[in-house]
């Protein structure tokens, strides 16, 4: 280990610190200027105000967009988590030919340009005669959420000890009873974590919603529309800050749950292995 320690140039920790600053600094400016009195975001700051936040609930278009985003987010997260559970369970529990190819296909939206995914879906939906609405946005969001849901759930399902389920069945529990009393409690944190991750992605997602929505706006689409007007910037910054906060809280909870899930299945597995 001393050999490795020797190759720790002094600049590495410093660099790591600077990198974190680079990652966070741009995002920090949103909350800073959202409480600034002046409408243009520049230094020196002209004093603090909550006026921009107070204006938010008085904007009917914003209220509508918030409701739309919540509905889309809840539907998309439930649907993609259900599809994610099926796929993750299949991938971690069974071995069959074509498993890797199918997994690759399901994960593909993660690495494809979003615009191309969005316009291809748009073409098919128009061909199928679906009229664009929040429903089509949900369909699109589910597609891009499934890979994330899969990642979270696979890490929760992996190391899951099958003998626990077998033991339960041998002791006379029905298939449903085994699922409810053995399987579910072990994987519940991973499932909740997946729901939160998918909800956050859907809440923040712009491109797919932009192409697949009809007349109804989600929050990112509302923000996009407001960006054209310089005078509306502080309101957008205030709204953006709230969204940042929401993502931050949701993701922190999701991460804590995911870790708990991983620890639970692994330690149980370790005990009985």
């Amino acid at each position: 280990m001393t050999a490795i320690k020797r190759f720790l140039p002094g600049w590495l920790p410093t660099y790591a610190g600077l990198y974190i600053v680079f990652l966070y600094l741009p995002v920090i400016f949103l909350p800073i200027f959202s409480i600034n009195i002046a409408a243009t975001p520049k230094f020196p700051l002209s004093g603090a105000t909550l006026q921009w936040y107070e204006d938010l609930p008085r904007t009917p278009a914003l209220i509508d967009a918030t409701w739309n985003s919540l509905m889309v987010g809840v539907s998309a997260s439930i649907l993609s988590t259900v599809l994610g559970i099926l796929a993750a369970r299949s991938i971690t529990r069974y071995r069959y030919p074509g498993r890797r190819t199918i997994n690759g296909l399901i994960m593909a939206p993660l690495v494809l340009p979003e615009v191309i995914v969005a316009i291809s879906m748009l073409l098919v939906m128009l061909q199928l005669g679906l009229s664009l609405s929040l429903f089509t946005v949900v369909l699109g969001h589910v597609l891009v959420c499934i890979p994330y849901s899969m990642t979270v759930l696979t890490s929760g399902f992996e190391g899951f000890d099958r003998s626990l389920e077998e033991a339960s069945a041998d002791l006379g529990e029905s298939a449903f009873g085994t699922f409810r009393r053995v399987t579910l409690p072990m994987v519940a944190p991973a499932i909740i974590s997946s729901l939160l991750v998918c909800f956050t992605i859907s809440l923040d997602e712009f491109i797919i919603a932009f192409f697949l929505t009809g007349t109804e706006a989600t929050l990112p689409i509302y923000i996009w529309g407001q960006l054209r007007f310089a005078a509306k910037l502080p309101g957008v910054l205030a709204l953006g800050t709230l969204l940042l906060l929401a993502s931050f809280v949701l993701m922190t909870v999701a991460e804590i749950l995911r870790r708990r899930a991983a620890r639970r299945t692994q330690s149980e597995g370790g005990l009985y292995a």
């Binding site: 741009p26 520049k42 069959y96």
Partner: protein, 305 residues
């Protein structure tokens, strides 16, 4: 209840009846994944096939002529405007993936080799900004680089410049900076994962055999982490080539990318076949570029050994 107990019996007899069990495993596993698989087929594979089909058709005002033609591809590849946009998009995505990988490597190395007990905290710190809205992160760069923005007013306040510079925003450099920031996390994670897999005893062995720290890094750690570098490069390169929001918000006229042209064909210009051909061309060319990158990194990896 007996039915459930009965059902669990084959599992315990795995050794005795291997092949029928495998078959039923395969069927069960496939049945379980099929809803998700079918969803991806209908909303990903089918749409992409439809786009490819459209790229060979022609738009006549409101109707689409389904006769096979390569005219759209001729336009996509030879019209100066699309050719330039394509080149610029490739240039930007190549630069961004190079920058993100080079900037991310030391961080991934630091966390993997010196993160100690705080490894997961570091990873969490790094992934958090990634989970915030992409649109908002691009917007914050607009706030920073703008004419009346943070950087200009800050520099003026410090007396470094006397009047705001308009060279910061609305060009391809602004697009590159914004994208490099936005994709940073995506590059760190795969590199970190492959560094975690590097056998530490190999590094020690190299040192014991007389390699200095730099030499053992270059000949052992770096080549062994090449798979991570490859996936980091690809995971950044392919999506950034089709980025729409960043060029639109911070790119100005000089920073327009191919996705903006594609969107225009499906929007105002209303020429779906041309938009489809542009999408297919972009995907094919970026795949070629990605393939070449993989070959180059693999060749370098072999050279380093």
């Amino acid at each position: 209840m007996t039915a459930a107990a009965e059902g669990s019996r084959p599992l315990r007899m795995a050794g005795a009846r291997r092949s029928p069990l495998l078959q039923s495993e395969a069927v069960q596993g496939f049945a379980l994944i099929s809803p998700t698989f079918v969803y991806a087929l209908i909303l990903l594979v089918l749409p992409i096939l439809v786009v490819i089909a459209h790229s060979f058709w022609t738009q006549h005002y409101l109707t689409i002529d389904h006769t096979f033609t390569l005219e759209n591809y001729r336009i996509a590849l030879t019209e100066p405007i699309y050719r330039d946009l394509l080149w610029r998009s490739l240039y930007i995505s190549l630069t961004v993936s190079l920058l993100t990988v080079v900037l991310a490597y030391p961080i991934a190395y630091f966390i993997s080799f010196h993160g100690g007990r705080h490894k997961s905290l570091w990873l969490f710190l790094i992934t958090i900004p990634f989970w915030t809205s992409y649109l908002l992160r691009v917007m914050s760069w607009k706030v920073i680089l703008g004419y009346n923005g943070v950087l200009n007013s800050g520099l003026m306040g410090l007396g470094i410049i006397s009047e705001p510079s308009d060279a910061l925003l609305y060009n391809s450099t602004a697009v590159i900076i914004t994208l490099t920031h936005a994709w940073a996390t995506f590059a760190i994670l795969p590199i970190f994962v492959s560094l975690e897999k590097v056998d530490r005893t190999l590094v020690e062995a190299a040192t014991d055999l007389g390699d200095g720290p730099l030499r053992s890094f270059l000949r052992v750690t770096l080549p062994l982490s090449a798979p991570g570098v490859i996936s980091a490069a690809l995971i950044v390169m392919i999506p950034t080539v089709g980025d729409y929001v960043t060029p639109k918000l911070v790119g100005g006229k000089d920073g327009v990318m191919i996705a903006n042209a594609i969107q225009a064909q499906f929007g105002k210009a209303s020429n779906w076949p041309l938009g489809a051909a542009l999408s297919v061309t972009t995907m094919v060319i970026v795949s070629l570029m990605a393939g070449t990158t993989v070959l180059i990194i693999r060749a370098l990896q072999r050279l380093a050994r």
